[in-house]
């Protein structure tokens, strides 16, 4: 499995989590899986860093959580994007785009 910690910046991890939740309610395991799938197996978030990040995001009010029964019959804690979280995702994506654009321009300079 191509593991790319790629030195994920703190803010980047937050954005990835928010993005994966923007497609629907998920538990922690699901968040990791979705990030992996969406990145074509290029990004693998470690559990050890996922949960602190999730909790921090929850404290910021960007996601809410509840315990529920998973389709396999197991209990799991599900996270859901809040309205504030959706807005945060937009700002973060916008600023990320700006950053990418700026870096691209610098790289294309001859």
């Amino acid at each position: 499995m191509p593991k790319n910690k790629a030195d994920l910046l703190q803010g980047t991890l937050d954005m990835l989590i928010l993005k994966s939740l923007s497609l629907g309610e998920l538990h922690g395991y699901g968040v990791i899986q979705r990030i992996r799938q969406l990145s074509d197996e290029m990004l693998h978030v470690e559990q050890g860093s996922l949960y602190p990040a999730l909790y921090r995001i929850e404290q910021k009010g960007w996601v809410s959580s509840r315990w529920d029964v998973h389709e396999t019959g197991r209990e799991a804690k599900f996270y859901k994007l809040t309205r504030a979280g959706r807005k945060q995702l937009e700002t973060e994506e916008a600023s990320w785009d700006r950053l990418c654009l700026a870096i691209a321009k610098i790289r294309q300079a001859t």
């Binding site: 922690g28 050890g48 949960y51 602190p52 929850e58 404290q59 009010g61 804690k77 504030a84």
Partner: protein, 615 residues
């Protein structure tokens, strides 16, 4: 929002630490189970699937810890731990704790008591509307006497010619006899021009204050009562407004009652020496026969918006210079001065008060040094405990924080007891305070004072706790962990140096305090021993003002017949009085003797002159 959530999590963790941890642990274990399921679906054997899932998850405990850092009690939790531990430590060393708490309580208590006075007199706003725009105006005599009274004519010139003040009022404190209801009583009465209450911006709670029409003749004079007088003499009856009362055999119509605690008392310049209980209009007659030149008026004024105190003072000086030119026989070499109200009331106590605050600050520093010293000697017996903590992985910062928390707990306990001392101290201060600090009656433990005490005790805790904490945390682990925790010579000598330094510091502060206290007492004693040129033993003075009925000296003498062996009646008693009071000059210096061997020797200085209630 965010801080609220974090705070909620922190508090939850403090109260249900286990639940929070179990929750995190459960979520992570379920995460692993899902991975196991996925692995099995991918074709692994159950054992292999679990092994792989565990491996990919990494150290479960560390992950829980990392998550708990976010969701747990954080700094609150360590603080709670430290406080719990600190209390336990203090309870174990009872002798140390009680001595330290009493020492700190004395220092903090003294500070709180003095600060509450400073706060009341120097920091709290004066009880008038926009009090920083109110000033007093005085003359300065050719002899350089400041805060000298002014005359009607001069006041009128200031009042009419200035463009710096919204309003200007004259006032004069005098004694009037209240008769007619119950015991006759001598009241302190403030005669003012009608703008007086408007300038101070205080309204009556019942009825009204003065209007410009009240100054016109042809009606009985009006009176505004203090709340205290209203309650004391008239039982707080609202129907009193509109009634008449008798002052010096003249009828006055009561038009209003002021709120409790309203007063405008300038002790040094007051003709009665006590706050007024009644206000009435000061007549400002003009023309022949009117006393326009006698200097007996105080002046209070409110600045116009945007005019500074200095501008106003400059303008008034110009006006006064003109007066000097126009009427040199009255005003030559006289100038005037403008004083902010706070300066007027408390200018003479400001420096002593800051001095006192400085002194009790020193006392507190000495207490800090003392407690720091105690903490250091206690530290010797705690070296092993601290060393064990260090070995188990506590960082130096963590140890310092724990020791500081203990100090803060100690300081807080000290300040609790200190508040008790302060309460007693304030009562004592109020009891011994001279009458002119009348507003001291309202000094108390209010929120500002409590805030100050809390701040002081926190600061105290850090001051006396920091040096020992830094010192102890710099332990040589190897030595300290040896049997019995006996420290090596170098360690002991470092500790001794610090303690010696503290003792030197304490003694230096104590010497400064003692020297200043000694000087103050010496000045005080010398003041008391000043030779006045006459024998004051067993001599009393008192002031009695008699109404117009007592017109002739024999009548006055008959009235004054007290149980005194000898008494002398003067217009003004020695060492006080207004030299330029015409009435005083007229009546000064008659003497008589009464023979009554049973009585004590006394002298009654009476203002027999000035019989008219209004001069």
């Amino acid at each position: 929002m965010k801080w609220l959530n974090i705070l909620r999590d922190r508090i939850r963790a403090l109260r249900q630490r286990e639940t929070v941890i179990t929750d995190i642990d459960r979520e992570m274990r379920l995460h692993i189970e899902m991975q196991v399921d996925a692995n099995i679906r991918a074709g692994m054997s159950p054992i292999e699937a679990r092994e792989k899932a565990m491996r990919s998850f990494g150290n479960l405990n560390r992950a829980v810890d990392a998550a708990y850092d976010v969701k747990g009690g954080g700094i609150f939790e360590t603080l709670a731990q430290d406080i719990r531990y600190g209390v336990r430590m203090l309870a174990k060393h009872k002798a140390f704790t009680s001595i330290a708490i009493i020492t700190l309580a004395l220092g903090i208590g003294a500070n709180t008591a003095i600060f509450s006075v400073v706060n009341d007199l120097l920091l709290r706003p004066l009880p008038y509307r926009d009090a920083d725009r109110i000033t007093t105006v005085w003359e300065v005599s050719p002899q350089g006497r400041h805060q000298n009274s002014t005359s009607r004519a001069n006041f009128r010139a200031w009042h009419d010619q200035n463009s710096s003040f919204q309003n200007m009022a004259a006032f004069s404190d005098q004694r009037l006899n209240l008769t007619g209801t119950g015991e006759p009583e001598e009241l302190s009465v403030q005669f003012t021009t009608p703008e007086f209450f408007k300038i101070l911006g205080v309204d009556a709670i019942l009825g009204r204050t003065f209007l410009p029409e009240d100054d016109k003749g042809g009606q009985s004079p009006v009176a505004v009562l203090s709340y205290g007088l209203w309650q004391r003499r008239f039982g707080g009856q609202a129907s009193l407004v509109g009634d008449t009362i008798t002052l010096n055999d003249e009828k006055f119509t009561v038009i209003g009652v002021m709120p409790p605690n309203f007063q405008f008392h300038i002790k040094q310049r007051s003709g009665t020496g006590r706050p007024a209980e009644l206000w009435t209009i000061l007549p400002m007659p003009v023309g022949p026969g009117a006393n326009e030149r006698g200097r007996f008026l105080g002046t209070v004024a409110r600045l116009k918006d945007g005019v500074s105190m200095d501008q106003a003072a400059a303008e008034l000086r110009t006006i006064h210079a003109r007066l000097s030119d126009q009427e040199p026989q009255f005003n030559k070499n006289y100038t005037n001065e403008v004083l902010p109200l706070r300066e007027q009331f408390f200018g003479n106590v400001r420096r002593p008060l800051w001095l006192m605050l400085g002194a009790v600050g020193f006392v507190l520093l000495i207490a800090c040094a003392n407690v720091a010293n105690l903490l250091l000697s206690l530290a010797t017996s705690r070296e092993k405990e601290i060393a064990v903590r260090a070995v188990l992985g506590a960082r130096r910062l963590r140890i310092v924080r724990q020791l500081l928390t203990e100090s803060l707990v100690l300081a807080l306990l000290g300040s609790l007891l200190g508040l008790g001392f302060a309460w007693l101290g304030i009562k004592a201060l109020v009891a011994i305070s001279p009458r002119d600090l009348v507003s001291l009656q309202s000094v108390g433990l209010n929120l500002t004072v409590l805030g100050w005490t809390l701040g002081v005790s926190m600061l105290t805790g850090i001051i006396f706790g920091l040096a020992p904490a830094l010192h102890i945390s710099r332990l040589n682990l190897n030595d300290s962990l040896k049997d019995g925790g006996k420290s090596e010579a170098s360690q002991a000598s470092g500790s001794r140096r610090l303690r010696n330094a503290l003792v030197v510091f304490e003694i230096a502060l104590a010497v400064v305090l003692l020297a200043s206290a000694g000087l103050l007492i010496r000045s005080f004693l010398r003041l008391q021993q000043v030779d006045r040129g006459f024998n004051t033993d067993n001599v009393l003075t008192m002031v009695v003002r008699l109404p117009d009925r007592y017109r002739e000296d024999p009548q006055v003498i008959k009235f004054l017949q007290p149980g005194a062996r000898t008494s002398t009646a003067l217009a003004d008693s020695p060492l006080r009085g207004h030299g330029q009071f015409p009435a005083a000059v007229r009546r000064s210096g008659f003497e008589y003797r009464l023979q009554d061997p049973r009585a004590a020797r006394a002298a009654a200085g009476t203002r027999a002159g000035n019989r008219r209630a209004r001069c």
